[in-house]
C-alpha cells in the first residue's frame, strides 16, 4: 500500500487511472451487450449462404446494395441476423411491393428453402438475432404471465385483444391473429418496420414464450360472447347498435304503425 500511495502523484497516474476506468466500463459494456446478442445456433451450410448470396444479388441488392451494405433506398443488412430475414421474407413484407410508410404483409415471394438460403447469407455477413429454437415456440408457457407482459409492452400499439392499432402518418401495428409463433418471436427480437426491439434483457426468452402462449390461447378461445365485431371495442359496438339495433327496431315501428299512417 505504501508503494501505491507514494506513486499516486506520479505524472502518469492520471493516465493510468483513465485507462483503468475505460477498461472497466468497456469490459462491463461488452459483457452486458453480449447478453443481448443472440448466438447463431441455427446451422447454415456454406452452400446455403452462397445460394442466398445469389438470390440476394438478384432480388434484394437493388435497394439494400451489393453485399447488403445498404443504399439510399434501403438500409444495410449487416448484422440484422437471420431472424430479421426470416420474418421479413417469410411474411411477404420483403421484397417490398412499393415504398410507403410501412411494408404490408402479403403472400411470401420465396419458398422456405429460398428464405432459408437468404437468411444464411445475411447471417454470414455479421452476427445478429438467429431464428428462434422450437422450445420457445411451443405455446406451452404461462398464458397469464404472457397476458400481463403483452398488456404492458405490446397493447398500446397492438390493442389489448391483439386486434391492431394506428400509428402516426399511415403507419400501423398489425393485428396478430394468424401470425405464426416463429414470426411473433422474430418480430420481438428484430423489431421490424416501426416496432421496437424487445431484447432478451427486456423480455427474456421465457417471457416471449409466455406472450406467444397468450396470443395463441386467446386466438384459440375465440369469442365466448358471440361474434366479436372485429374486437375493436366500443366503436364497432356503437356502430352496431345504431345501424343494426336501431335499424331493426325502426323496421318494427314502421310495421306497427303501417296501417294508419
Amino acid at each position: 500500500m505504501k508503494a501505491l500511495s507514494q506513486k499516486r502523484r506520479h505524472p502518469l497516474a492520471a493516465i493510468a487511472l483513465l485507462l483503468m476506468g475505460l477498461l472497466v466500463t468497456g469490459g462491463l459494456y461488452a459483457v452486458a451487450t453480449t447478453v443481448n446478442q443472440a448466438k447463431a445456433t441455427t446451422s447454415f451450410s456454406a452452400n446455403d449462404a452462397e445460394e442466398g448470396g445469389k438470390l440476394f444479388a438478384a432480388n434484394c441488392a437493388t435497394c439494400h446494395g451489393m453485399g447488403a451494405s445498404g443504399s439510399q433506398d434501403g438500409p444495410s443488412l449487416v448484422g440484422v441476423g437471420a431472424a430479421a430475414v426470416d420474418f421479413q421474407v417469410g411474411t411477404g413484407r420483403m421484397p417490398m411491393q412499393m415504398n410507403g410508410p410501412q411494408a404490408y404483409k402479403k403472400p411470401a415471394q420465396f419458398n422456405e428453402e429460398q428464405t432459408h438460403q437468404l437468411s444464411a447469407y445475411v447471417a454470414s455477413l455479421g452476427p445478429g438475432p438467429s431464428i428462434p429454437e422450437a422450445h420457445v415456440l411451443d405455446g406451452q408457457g404461462d398464458a397469464a404471465n404472457g397476458g400481463e407482459l403483452f398488456r404492458v409492452n405490446c397493447a398500446m400499439c397492438h390493442n389489448a385483444a391483439a386486434a391492431g392499432g394506428a400509428l402516426t402518418r399511415g403507419k400501423f401495428a398489425p393485428a396478430l391473429s394468424g401470425v405464426s409463433e416463429k414470426h411473433i418471436y422474430e418480430a420481438m427480437v428484430t423489431g421490424p418496420q416501426n416496432m421496437p426491439v424487445f431484447s432478451d434483457s427486456n423480455v427474456g426468452p421465457e417471457g416471449k414464450r409466455d406472450i406467444i402462449t397468450f396470443l395463441k390461447q386467446i386466438e384459440a378461445n375465440g369469442s365466448p360472447g358471440g361474434a366479436d365485431l372485429g374486437a375493436l371495442g366500443p366503436v364497432s359496438e356503437g356502430l352496431f347498435v345504431w345501424i343494426a339495433g336501431l335499424g331493426v327496431i325502426i323496421a318494427f315501428t314502421i310495421w306497427l304503425t303501417s296501417r294508419t299512417s
Binding site: 397469464a144 389489448a160 360472447g225 359496438e237 339495433g245
Partner: protein, 559 residues
C-alpha cells in the same frame, strides 16, 4: 267489465266472483275511473313517435338485467388473485370488482348473456333517447306548451349518459380504467379546484381504492332514481299536454287524431316492449359487447390501442383527440403564477359539450324570442317547412358527428389505410366548416323540397305518360292529387320576417333590433304554401301543358 264502470252505486253486487273482487278493489281505489280516463287517451300513429317508447322499454330491460347483475357483482377494489375458469387470467392480480365481473361472465349461469343484455340495452337506451330528441327537435314538438318537457328530456339525456358512464367504469378492466383516467385528467385540468375535486372523488390520488364503490352507488341508486323521477315527470306532462300529431286533414291544434290507448294502443305498446326485448336479447345472444376478459385488469401503466368510451361519450373523447397541444409556437398549456393551466384538456373536454347542451336546453326559448310565437302548437312541422330550424339542427348534428368520428380516428386510419394525422387534420377543418356547410346545404334542400311540394300541389303528380299533341309537341300528363294528399302539401304556416316593434314606451330598443335581424335571418328565405286562389287558378287552366307553365310559382317566392 261494464259493471265496474259504475263505482258510485253502493248497492251494486256483481254476478261473478271475479266481478265481486274487481268491484271490491274498484270501490276502494277508483281504478275504473283512471282506466276510463287513460284508456281514452288518444295517440296518433307514426313510426317516428315510438323512439320514446323504445327508450322507456330499454330502461325497463336495464332495471331487470341490472338487478340480476347486482346479485353477483362485488364493487370492491380489494386485491385478489383470479381463480375462475378463464385460463389466460389465472392467478393474475386484480380487483375483486374485476374478478366478480369475470365470474359473472364465465362462472354464473346465464351471467354473460345478462351482462350483454344490460350493456346492449344501455347503448340502445341512449341511442333511442337521442333519436327521440332529434325527432322532437326537427318536428318542432318542443314549442309551447312543451318547452319544460323538452328540458326534462334534455336532463334525461344527460342522466342516461351519466348512468352509462358510471356503469362502463364498474368492471375495473383496463378499458374502463383508461376511461376513468381520462375523466380524472379532465377534472384535474379545471384551474385551481380541479385537483381538489379529483382527490375528493377518488378518495385520494387516482385510482385509489374507493372509486368503484362510489360509482356503483351512483350507478344503481342515485342515477336510476333520478331517471325514474324524470321519466314520471316526462310522461305526466305527455298526458297533460296530449300527444302532438303530424299535419293532415282534420288535424288541428285543438284535437288529437289517432287510436285510443285501450285497447289498440295498449296492445301495440305491450307487444312492442317484447319486440324491443327480443331485439336486445338477440343482439346479446349473438354479438359480444365489452369483452372485459380481453382487456385484463386495470393497471395505471398500460394503455391499449383503440381505447374508446361507449358511443355516447365518444364526442367528448373525439374533441380531446382533435385539440392540438400547440397552435403555431404557442403552447395551449400555460404556466401562470407557477401553476399549470391545461387548456389543451379543459377547452376540448368542456367547451363543445357545454355549447351543445346549453343550446339544447335554451333552444325553445331562443326560437320563441326570435319568432315572437307565443301560441300553442300541437300540430308538428314537417322539417322542410321550417328550413332554418332544420338547418340549425343539422349544423349541430354534423358538429356532433365530426367529434364523434374523431373518437374513432385511429380505426378510420387503419381501416381505410390513410394517415392518422391526415384524418385528424381533416376532422379539425370539418369541426369548423362542417356545421356551416351543413347549415347551407340543409336549408337549400329544405327550400327545394318545399318548392317541389308547391309544384305538386299546384300541378299534380307526374304520371310518366308522354302524349304527342296534334301539332307535334310532346308533353307529360300530370295527374291531380286527391285533396287529402294535397292538404299535407299546403297546410302549413310560412311566417315572414317580423320587423322590430316598439316597446311599451314607443321605443325600438337595441335588443328588439337584434331580434328583428335574427327574425330576418330565420324567415327571409321562404316558400309560401300554395293559396286556395293559386290552386283555383292552377285548376282553372287545367290544360294539358300546365306542367311547363311553372313561372307563376316563382313570383310568390320572396327574395
Amino acid at each position: 267489465m261494464s259493471a265496474t264502470s259504475t263505482p258510485s252505486a253502493p248497492a251494486f253486487v256483481a254476478k261473478t266472483k271475479g266481478g265481486r273482487i274487481t268491484n271490491f278493489v274498484d270501490e276502494r281505489v277508483g281504478g275504473s275511473g283512471m282506466l276510463r280516463e287513460f284508456g281514452r287517451k288518444v295517440f296518433p300513429d307514426h313510426w317516428s313517435f315510438m323512439f320514446g317508447e323504445v327508450a322507456l322499454y330499454s330502461f325497463v330491460i336495464l332495471l331487470l338485467s341490472g338487478t340480476f347483475l347486482t346479485f353477483f357483482f362485488d364493487p370492491s377494489m380489494a386485491e385478489t388473485h383470479y381463480q375462475g375458469s378463464y385460463t389466460p387470467l389465472k392467478n393474475v392480480e386484480m380487483s375483486v370488482a374485476y374478478s366478480s365481473s369475470l365470474d359473472i361472465s364465465f362462472d354464473v349461469r346465464g351471467g354473460l348473456f345478462m351482462r350483454q343484455v344490460h350493456h346492449w340495452s344501455a347503448l340502445l337506451f341512449v341511442a333511442s333517447v337521442s333519436v327521440h330528441m332529434l325527432r322532437v327537435f326537427f318536428t318542432g314538438a318542443f314549442r309551447k306548451p312543451r318547452e319544460m318537457n323538452w328540458v326534462v328530456g334534455s336532463v334525461l339525456l344527460i342522466l342516461s349518459m351519466a348512468a352509462g358512464f358510471t356503469g362502463y367504469s364498474l368492471p375495473d378492466d383496463l378499458l374502463s380504467g383508461n376511461g376513468l383516467r381520462i375523466i380524472d385528467g379532465v377534472i384535474k385540468s379545471i384551474p385551481v379546484i380541479g385537483t381538489y375535486i379529483s382527490f375528493f372523488l377518488f378518495g385520494g390520488e387516482f385510482p385509489g381504492t374507493m372509486v368503484i364503490g362510489r360509482l356503483y352507488m351512483l350507478h344503481i341508486l342515485l342515477v336510476p332514481a333520478l331517471i325514474l323521477l324524470m321519466i314520471v315527470m316526462h310522461l305526466f306532462m305527455v298526458v297533460v299536454h296530449k300527444h302532438t300529431q303530424y299535419p293532415g286533414p282534420g288535424r288541428n291544434d285543438g284535437n288529437v287524431v289517432g287510436y285510443p290507448l285501450g285497447p289498440v294502443y295498449a296492445a301495440k305498446a305491450g307487444g312492442f316492449f317484447f319486440i324491443v326485448f327480443g331485439v336486445v336479447a338477440l343482439m346479446a345472444g349473438f354479438f359480444t359487447i365489452n369483452p372485459i376478459w380481453n382487456y385484463g385488469p386495470y393497471d395505471p401503466s398500460p394503455v391499449s390501442a383503440g381505447t374508446q368510451p361507449d358511443w355516447y361519450i365518444g364526442f367528448v373523447d373525439g374533441a380531446l383527440r382533435l385539440m392540438p397541444g400547440t397552435i403555431g409556437n404557442w403552447s395551449v398549456e400555460q404556466v401562470w403564477f407557477g401553476q399549470v393551466f391545461s387548456f389543451n384538456v379543459l377547452l376540448p373536454a368542456l367547451v363543445p359539450a357545454g355549447i351543445l347542451f346549453t343550446v339544447m336546453f335554451m333552444y325553445p326559448w331562443i326560437e320563441r324570442w326570435i319568432t315572437k310565437d307565443g301560441r300553442e302548437h300541437h300540430v308538428l312541422d314537417r322539417p322542410r317547412n321550417a328550413p332554418t330550424r332544420t338547418a340549425i339542427g343539422m349544423a349541430g348534428f354534423v358538429w356532433y358527428c365530426v367529434m364523434w368520428a374523431a373518437a374513432g380516428s385511429d380505426l378510420i386510419a387503419t381501416h381505410f389505410h390513410v394517415s392518422l394525422n391526415d384524418v385528424t387534420y381533416w376532422l379539425r377543418a370539418l369541426f369548423f366548416i362542417g356545421p356551416v356547410i351543413a347549415f347551407i346545404v340543409t336549408k337549400r334542400v329544405a327550400l327545394a323540397l318545399q318548392r317541389k311540394d308547391r309544384e305538386i300541389a299546384l300541378h299534380g303528380r307526374e304520371t310518366g305518360r308522354i302524349v304527342r299533341l296534334p301539332h307535334g309537341e310532346f308533353i307529360e300528363v300530370h295527374a291531380p292529387l286527391d285533396e287529402y294528399k294535397r292538404y299535407k302539401l299546403v297546410g302549413f304556416e310560412s311566417p315572414s320576417p317580423l320587423p322590430a316593434e316598439p316597446n311599451a314606451n314607443g321605443v325600438v330598443d337595441k335588443k328588439e333590433k337584434r331580434r328583428a335581424k335574427l327574425s330576418q335571418w330565420f324567415f327571409e328565405d321562404r316558400v309560401a304554401p300554395a293559396t286556395p286562389a293559386e290552386l283555383e287558378a292552377a285548376h282553372g287552366h287545367h290544360g294539358a301543358h300546365e306542367a311547363i307553365e311553372s313561372g307563376d310559382t316563382q313570383k310568390t317566392l320572396s327574395r
